[in-house]
Symmetry: C2
Subunit: 151 residues, 2 copies
Amino acid sequence: MTAPAPIPGEREPLGRRDYEKELRDAGVRITRPRRTILRILSETDDHPDALEIYRRAIRTDPSLSLSTVYRTMKLLEDRGAIQRHAFAGGPARFEQDHGAHHDHLIDIDTGDVIEFTSDKIEALQDEIARSLGYDIVHHRLELYGRKRRKR
Amino acid sequence: MTAPAPIPGEREPLGRRDYEKELRDAGVRITRPRRTILRILSETDDHPDALEIYRRAIRTDPSLSLSTVYRTMKLLEDRGAIQRHAFAGGPARFEQDHGAHHDHLIDIDTGDVIEFTSDKIEALQDEIARSLGYDIVHHRLELYGRKRRKR
DNA sequence: CTTTTAATTGCAAATAATTTGCAATTGCAT
DNA sequence: ATGCAATTGCAAATTATTTGCAATTAAAAG
């Protein structure tokens, strides 16, 4: 399958990592299910969970199984190709790792996820951890909010 | 594990909240299991999960069941008596709601939880959400770290 | 203090999300 | 093309939590 033509006006990442090549070079076999899943991840801008990835995947390859989705997510996470997020009260959701760290604002009404970054917050986090005698290995900052009503 | 240090001059709840009375006044029946669980929560400074609360509870009342722990946690959460935290990759952990909001630093080696607050971070979060057109309903800030080795 | 009765409980079974054992299949180096 | 270890699909297992239901119990009423 060829990648679909880019939709005019749609946001596209500037430089896209070639995960298929990266993985192959790392000695990972590129199988049909993996190719399918990688394509789905590269085509989406949202943060689908495993079941949603599975649903999209079987449109292309009906024999692909949910366990393979889970196994592949694990593999991709370990290789740094994707990020796993456990938002409040729901299944894990995934997104391609596009390099730049960011935090999330989750719309509690729709489940929509908006990404943001704040160097100031990052700096404050480091400062706090240091003052408590710790080094931060990773962190999780999630804002759960509701769209502000115009008034 | 560590409660936030009381800030001198700042208003703090004088004694502990009397949850038993609060709940009774709210029309909640005070049963043996509930009394047991409330006592366990009030006696601990850590963030136990449901199973751990259950284990501690059956030392007092061996007939108490895990489902009752879960049901009681739900009830207490709804009444604002406890807070539920879903730290990365594990079961929900609970703590009595002692009023003051705080965030958590989790020791990735031991599971220990250190509480902290930062007005600056809170303010920045509000600012970010507002700029994205949202009002924050709640948030989650967790730092996962490792104790700094002296050098 | 007994009666009354609806809330609560314990237990087992159900769910939800994810993982795993295993035999069959497949990528890819030869 | 061939061989074989990696990978897959499927079903069953696990983990965390919830729920249906009959039995029990708190607390209101008498």
